[in-house]
């Protein structure tokens, strides 16, 4: 555990000259009890961020290594546990890569059911994100409304698969559970409700001052930069790149359902908010169409436990962007190599580029904007190289700093109200641990 003084000095100064005007802010790693831990070294010049150095891996569990000693089928449900929000799409992508090696065909009904679940997952993930954006911007009413509406889609997922988050719906060449009967009308009705709500939220974010001040002209990045840094998903689409695996390389039933790929060219965090709300409407349309046109037939083909030798890669559009799986088989019961790449990894270089030039107060908004799979700012310590002063802020304090920075006139009563709710939430979380 011991580090040499030289190494420690390098750590603290991020390789900068010791007497420079720039100061270094270590950001994270974060309390694992709330969300996921992350660490960024932020180099500041006054209030402006000039450089960001990431240090990830605090929750690296070695899934790729673990996959090499587990049977093919077991791996599918292990990879589903990669993420607690977009779980289904991981098993789908891994499954597709393996299915290609087996030469069995996936039944059409299974393809439609996969599409329905994947799109419902996108709706729930996007709603979760819009709520978090509201929270970090200092607009907790939005957070509570949106998360309440998110329950609607989670209930549907539970009714279909039996679980809210880890659906375990996929199997090789099919799905494990059929769609329940008599759910068609209910799903269509709920999708219509969610479409109306998304349109309403769209109106809210375009008119509400809190959201406009915090998100407009924040986190700009050029189209060329995003393309060079290989951004994926909404992070590519918000600068005008038509980058969507559903459109470019259709899988499941995406070549048969009406696809509406949304792009914007505004390129700020506000555009990302609009884009994700528009995508939500598009996803609701896909679900309604797929439910109404669900073909009859079998839902699964049985696949032998030994997968023929070969290698294949597959990519899918997760809510956060493209995910990628590569599998290599030597003809045994366990894979020889599985590689998985998640969208946050691909979007991290772009996010660092977005942070440059922003102020300290914008960190929560910009980092949440990429919809990170870690996105928590629970604890950060500050270090000022000029005065040798260190201090630590909790995530809530950082949020308050951001809110006060933009809205200094807000009444203390109003701030106190938000804080009271937050502290009651924190207390409940602490009690549940």
């Amino acid at each position: 555990m011991s580090t040499s003084p030289e190494q420690q000095r390098r750590e603290e100064s991020a390789g900068l000259m010791e007497y420079s005007t720039e100061s270094l802010v270590p950001f994270g790693p974060i309390h694992p009890a709330l969300k996921e831990p992350e660490y960024f070294k932020l180099v500041l010049e006054g209030e402006r961020i000039v450089n960001v150095i990431p240090r990830i891996g605090y929750v690296h569990r070695g899934l790729e290594k673990a996959a090499e000693s587990r049977p093919w089928v077991q791996n599918m449900y292990m990879f589903e546990r990669t993420c607690g929000i977009c779980s289904f799409v991981h098993s789908l992508c891994y499954g597709q890569a393996v299915e290609e090696l087996t030469l069995f065909q996936v039944p059409k009904r299974a393809k439609y059911i996969r599409t329905i679940i994947a799109e419902m997952e996108r709706i729930h993930s996007h709603l979760l994100w819009v709520g978090l954006m509201g929270h970090w911007a200092g607009f907790d009413t939005l957070f509570m409304w949106v998360w309440n509406d998110r329950e609607v889609v989670l209930d549907l997922v539970e009714a279909i698969s039996g679980n809210r988050v880890h659906k375990s719906m996929n199997a090789f060449c099919g799905v494990r559970r059929d769609m329940p009967e008599n759910m068609k009308d209910r799903i269509v009705e709920r999708m219509k409700f969610l479409t109306d709500r998304a349109r309403y939220y769209r109106e809210v974010i375009d008119t509400e001052e809190t959201m406009l001040v915090r998100t407009e002209n924040i986190g700009r990045v050029s189209q060329d930069t995003a393309e060079k840094l290989c951004a994926v998903g909404p992070m590519a689409r918000y600068v005008g790149l038509r980058q969507d695996v559903r459109l470019n390389d259709p899988y499941a039933a995406y070549d048969e359902v009406p696809l509406d790929i949304v792009t914007t060219t505004e390129g700020d965090v506000h555009a990302l908010l609009r884009l994700r709300l528009d995508e939500l409407v598009a996803s609701a349309n896909i679900v309604s169409y797929a439910v109404e046109n669900l073909p009859d037939g079998p839902i699964r083909v049985k696949v032998p436990p030994v997968i023929p030798a070969g290698e294949h890669s597959s990519h899918c559009e997760a809510p956060r962007g493209e995910i990628f799986y590569y599998v290599k088989s030597s003809g045994g019961r366990t894979p020889e190599r599985v590689k998985s790449r998640q969208p946050t990894m691909a979007n991290l270089p772009t996010a660092l580029e977005m942070l440059k030039g922003q102020t300290l107060a914008d960190i929560p908004i910009v980092l949440t904007a990429i919809d990170p799979c870690f996105g928590c700012m629970d604890r950060m310590s500050f270090y000022d190289t000029e005065t040798n002063r260190r201090w630590t802020w909790s995530g809530e304090e950082l949020r308050q700093y951001g809110v006060n920075h933009y809205f200094p006139d807000r009444s203390k009563k109003q701030r106190g109200f938000t804080k009271a709710i937050d502290s009651s939430i924190n207390r409940r979380q602490r009690e549940s641990i």
């Binding site: 555990m1 580090t3 150095i53 990431p54 240090r55 990830i56 891996g57 690296h60 070695g62 790729e64 290594k65 673990a66 000693s69 290609e100 393309e227 060079k228 840094l229 290989c230 951004a231 980058q243 470019n248 390389d249 290698e311 294949h312 890669s313 990519h315 493209e322 990628f324 590569y326 290599k328 190599r337 590689k339 790449r341 990894m345 691909a346 991290l348 270089p349």
Partner: protein
């Protein structure tokens, strides 16, 4: 045969290798290390395939395989290169594809491959800072999960 594949074959010929079709719209090219940058520059600048999905490392016994997965719409191109296990030094493509920076760091951590030219190559990305120097990189076949757990003191006593 699509236009992309025809062009790809001419670039492959230039560096003295050939294109193998894995399946429809999916091709693999094996390129030697010294010609890798020339070939990747052709793919990125001339074919305009700018999206690098990721880089995969492979333990192939004596050699380590490095596969760059490029994609443009329906086309997927895997560019594979090899480095010997005894001297795992590869060229970095960060100056051509800036988005490759984290993937190269990941391979450095997981396979011990050093990418000459990567600005952050001395920094760890996924492994802990105090990862013991005598332990082999975790994704090599010689590295066993039990051994890593024991060495890092993560062993859980079985009841």
């Amino acid at each position: 045969m699509s236009e992309t594949v025809t062009k790809l074959e001419s670039y492959a010929e230039e560096v003295g290798t050939k294109v193998t079709a894995l399946r429809k719209n999916e091709n693999i090219v094996e390129v030697p290390q010294d010609k890798l940058k020339t070939f990747v520059a052709h793919v990125v600048n001339d074919l305009h395939i700018r999206h690098l999905m990721t880089i995969t490392g492979l333990d192939l016994g004596e050699n380590l395989g490095i596969t760059y997965h490029f994609s443009l719409e329906r086309d997927t191109i895997h560019v594979r290169s090899f480095v010997p296990k005894t001297k795992p030094v590869a060229v970095s493509i960060v100056d051509i594809v800036p988005g490759a920076i984290l993937y190269e760091m990941e391979l450095h951590d997981m396979f011990g491959i050093e990418f000459a030219g990567n600005p952050w190559k001395d920094q760890k990305l996924l492994l802990p800072d105090d990862w013991p120097a005598d332990l082999p990189p975790p994704l090599l076949k010689t590295s066993k999960a039990d051994q890593i757990r024991k060495r890092l003191g993560l062993e859980v006593e079985k009841k």
